[in-house]
Assembly symmetry: C2
Homo-oligomer: 232 residues x 2
């Protein structure tokens, strides 16, 4: 077990592979780790303790002024925003590991990009609220606001109705291959499948099939396992 | 002047260039039109009247189940989500008109992608709320909720403080060239510069310089001009 107390010293250390500032229970960190595992890439995790508010300390704000993880360091390049980091890794390592985007067929890539943005603007807003209320708050001793839950679940249902129709037509959201568009959904789904919101996914047969399939990916199991994080 | 009453008949008509379902006062429509003008591409606009709720009619929902504009048609390809459409157009026409992304230098593209996602997840949420409250609601006879405005402006200020620091270092957000990362901000900025929120941009000198610069682009002036829309 290695929980790093001095991440900023470590950031200057020369290591093989990417350095990732993150936290083992952070959805946005999981998103990037899933991509790294799909590509079979090594990485060097640097823990930013979100429980103690380390992400809002001056030393971390000098790394990411938005005070959030993950942050990727690749030599002198520093990237924030988990989806941007994911796209960067996939682009640089397009021919390695799982092919997570179509880089050659622009129409297919257009469809994949559309489903990535549907995740960002349609799925993520209600899913993040429900994850916070039903998973993160109980985990950290805070009280769930069921008024918020009851207002948000119907918004998620509208999105899942559209997903159900799409997933009748194809195995994954952007076609018959697993892509970043599917992967981007995993972090919130992982938490929500351990909450009462689970039933919204389960009562839609094609959504349920899709959720089961993408959650079972070995790369995903490694990405969201807190023990794997500390073992690095 | 041509306001199209039968968009779905027109959608089957063979025309040169892209077909765009949109609305002349829609921020998300403007975003795509700006890209088309930057690339010097012709397009065929199909009006979906958001004022009468045409976007929620069964015939439009069969085109976009989310009930939103813009939608791009390119032959058999149908794309929603303005940022995905923008990326598709830039990718297909990378060597034409304004170069809106670095397609060869992956590190530069990574930085550009990061700033696109900062727009999506940091700037757009407060900016969209303020645009709705201070510009769209008054324009459509609805009452501004100043409690919401007062809660949201400090969120936008935090983002603009970070932009100010970045724009001290470079002419545009992702470096010294105008890219999609800048362009994606224009629709909300266009509305907000005609509201009291304008002062938040103006009191930050580098943000103010950037806003003035990007709003002055000829492609942008065409994109957000409702008259240009009807003249097509």
């Amino acid at each position: 077990m290695a929980i790093f107390n001095e991440p900023f010293a470590l950031a200057n250390k020369e290591v093989a592979g990417y350095k990732i500032y993150g936290f083992p229970y952070s959805t946005n960190t999981w998103r990037v780790l899933a991509v790294l595992h799909e590509k079979g890439l090594s990485y060097y995790p640097i823990t930013v303790n979100l429980r103690t508010g380390e992400q809002k300390t001056p030393s971390f704000l000098s790394i990411n002024p938005f005070g959030q993880v993950p942050v990727l360091l690749d030599g002198h390049l520093k990237l924030t925003e988990s989806r941007a980091i994911s796209l960067y890794i996939e682009k640089v390592h397009s021919s390695r590991g799982t092919k997570l985007l179509n880089h050659k067929d622009y129409k297919k890539m257009g469809t994949e990009t559309m489903w990535m943005y549907i995740e960002s603007f349609k799925f993520d807003p209600p899913a993040t609220i429900l994850t916070l209320e039903l998973a993160i708050k109980p985990m950290t001793g805070l009280k769930t606001d069921y008024k918020v839950v009851n207002e948000t679940e119907p918004q998620l249902e509208k999105v899942l109705d559209i997903y159900e129709e799409q997933l009748k037509k194809s195995r994954f959201l952007a076609g018959n291959r697993f892509t970043l568009a599917d992967l981007f959904h995993l972090p919130n789904i992982e938490y929500l499948m351990n909450t009462t919101t689970k039933r919204l996914f389960e009562k839609r047969p094609n959504v349920h099939r899709w959720v089961t399939k993408i959650m079972a990916r070995p790369a995903w199991k490694k990405a969201c396992d807190p023990n794997a994080w500390y073992d690095k």
